[in-house]
């Protein structure tokens, strides 16, 4: 594998590490299967790119992108909590709606960010290191900072309440926790992280595209699952570390696979490889399986018994 490909894989790993942390919050902490991320990832990129092109400070643009992602999560949560729509379906509705919204935000399917200031620019001017390295270091710092913030949050009084909401709703309500409020808050945080990831992705790849979000949920989930098998353990800081690490390892493995000529794989096979990987991980015995209920539901419809 070339050096450039290696650094690129690490960069993508950290960016999708933010997505993985968001997916960890929704799928694992809140037990909320959330597909909004496909839309909120693209939304983050779209908002950041448009704001930067219009001359906004890139840090402010990135912050606004994260807030926009959070709003998308809030919409999904409101559909679920206020209107009583099944969580998975609520997230699909938001995801579909976001496709139109992203096109509206950008005004066209693609916004290039060539020769624009990004959050990396000040550091690139300061340092003698190659730009690629600067990007990698900034992304790593952001991802690790996000991980630490989540660790701290989930250990706080509100964080404990959020974990109880996902783990045992009856108990949470009996302890005076507004489980609805916790779902609203948690889904906003989760999609805020994903929006941030989208904004950083747009700035590292110098464009925002309406189709960039497709499959984000599967990449995020793959990272969480790979992380869980690499670092088994139930404490929060291990799980969040696992999500970051899972994202990086997953990207490295994919980069390696694409670089081995004998396999004959090309970059367009990425989605297929990911789908196969996630399927294998889900079917493996003892894997913690967020789709278990869906499998059971599927079995009751088709009459087949899942393994």
């Amino acid at each position: 594998m070339s050096w450039t490909a290696f650094i690129g894989a690490l960069e993508t790993g950290f960016v999708y590490g933010l997505v993985a942390l968001g997916v960890y919050l929704s799928f694992r902490v809140l037990d909320f299967p959330d597909l909004t991320v496909d839309g909120s990832f693209a939304l983050g990129g779209a908002v950041a790119a448009v704001a930067i092109v219009q001359g906004m400070n890139p840090y402010a643009a990135t912050a606004i992108a994260a807030v926009a992602g959070g709003c998308a999560g809030l919409v999904t949560a409101l559909l679920n909590v206020q209107l009583g729509i099944l969580n998975l379906l609520a997230s699909i509705l938001t995801m579909i709606a976001l496709y139109s919204i992203n096109l509206r935000v950008m005004g066209r399917p693609n916004v290039p960010l060539l020769n624009q200031d990004t959050i990396f620019t000040p550091f690139e001017q300061l340092s003698w290191l190659p730009d690629r390295w600067i990007e990698l270091i900034v992304l790593a710092v952001v991802a690790i900072a996000a991980k630490c913030c989540i660790d701290w949050f989930l250990a706080s009084e509100i964080g404990l309440a959020m974990r109880a909401t996902g783990a045992n709703t009856t108990m949470a309500r009996a302890q005076g926790i507004s489980t609805r409020g916790m779902i609203l808050l948690g889904m906003s945080l989760s999609n805020g992280l994903v929006g941030l990831g989208g904004a950083l992705f747009a700035q590292t790849s110098s464009f925002a595209d309406v189709s960039v979000g497709g499959g984000t949920i599967v990449f995020g989930l793959a990272a969480v699952i790979v992380g869980e098998s690499l670092l088994p353990g139930r404490s929060v800081w291990v799980a969040t570390l696992g999500s970051l690490l899972g994202s990086i390892v997953y990207r490295l493995v994919v980069a390696l696979a694409l670089n081995v000529d004998g396999l004959g794989l090309r970059s367009q096979d990425l989605n297929l490889i990911t789908a196969v990987l996630v399927t294998v991980a889900l079917v493996l015995p003892n894997a913690r399986n967020p789709f278990q209920r869906l499998l059971k539901w599927g079995a009751s419809v088709t009459g087949r018994v899942p393994q």
């Binding site: 949050f153 250990a155 706080s156 009084e157 509100i158 964080g159 404990l160 309440a161 974990r163 109880a164 783990a167 045992n168 009856t170 108990m171 949470a172 309500r173 009996a174 302890q175 005076g176 926790i177 507004s178 489980t179 139930r234």
Partner: protein, 264 residues
């Protein structure tokens, strides 16, 4: 104090599955009284508890706890007045959280939750002293996951959790039913101690007639969503399990159809 007036709860109204779970129950429990509730399956015992805790909304009637009318309050809002222990030991705590974290959740029941650390060293000291009274050797296991404990241990901790934050009333929903006899006796003894010590206004649903007479100072029997009898004081202390069965038959004028009531 708990006051319930003309409480009616109907499940699946206007369908073939319509069930009238509570049919106009009126009940007043003065502060500090420990009331036990018995009745056959489907008599409305658990529904009564859920209507008081806010898990089931009532169609008619009113509920007050202390001096507050709480009929329109949600369950989380009522939690500042109500502490509960459930029948299923798994229902009252979070398996993936540590013992200390579970206790910290209960510690802040009904109070504002902030971004401050959920479990502080000060809390750990307090929790350790609470847990040591159980004599279950949990003092040095506060960092263990709740899921590692046995059903009886979890139920004992749930009972402690109910006493950590201020509360007006304690609701126990067959909290010994899922335990083996020895553990059930232990949890029942612990219940009696804690209720006496803290002078708690308590409503306890039980399947066991023995337990209903041994614990507390007043016994209610529910049948088909109504209170069929209500004994306390001198009259109650003279009662035994066979008397209870006979009274039930007399009041209803019918044979006991449900074996589960006879078993214990």
């Amino acid at each position: 104090m708990i006051s319930v007036e003309q409480l009616e709860v109907t499940f699946n109204p206007n369908t073939a599955m319509e069930t009238k779970a509570l049919r106009g129950i009126t009940l007043t429990i003065p502060p500090g009284q420990f009331v036990t509730v018995i009745g056959s399956n489907g008599a409305g015992k658990s529904t009564l508890l859920k209507a008081i805790s806010g898990d089931v909304s009532c169609d008619r009637g009113s509920v007050s706890i202390g001096d507050r009318a709480v009929t329109r309050w949600s369950a989380p809002r009522r939690a500042k007045l109500v502490a509960r222990v459930f029948q299923d030991p798994l229902a009252g705590s979070c398996a993936d959280l540590t013992i200390a974290e579970n206790m910290a959740l209960a510690y802040r029941r009904g109070r504002w939750r902030s971004l401050a650390f959920g479990v502080t060293p000060g809390m750990m000291v307090e929790f350790r002293s609470h847990v040591s009274r159980l004599n279950l050797g949990l003092e040095n296991r506060l960092g263990d996951r709740m899921g590692l404990l046995s059903g009886g241990q979890r139920q004992a901790v749930s009972l402690l959790m109910a006493t950590l934050a201020p509360r007006k009333i304690l609701l126990l929903d067959e909290h010994t039913a899922a335990l083996d006899p020895k553990t059930a006796a232990y949890v029942a003894k612990l219940t009696r101690e804690i209720v006496e010590e803290q002078q708690l206004t308590t409503l306890m649903v039980t399947h066991s007639m023995r337990q209903a007479l041994d614990l507390g100072d007043r016994t209610l029997m529910l049948h088909e969503g109504q209170v069929v009898f209500d004994v306390a004081g001198e009259e109650r202390s003279r009662l035994d399990v066979p008397d209870l069965l006979r009274m039930f038959e007399e009041v209803r004028g019918e044979e006991l159809a449900n074996d589960s009531l006879l078993l214990s």
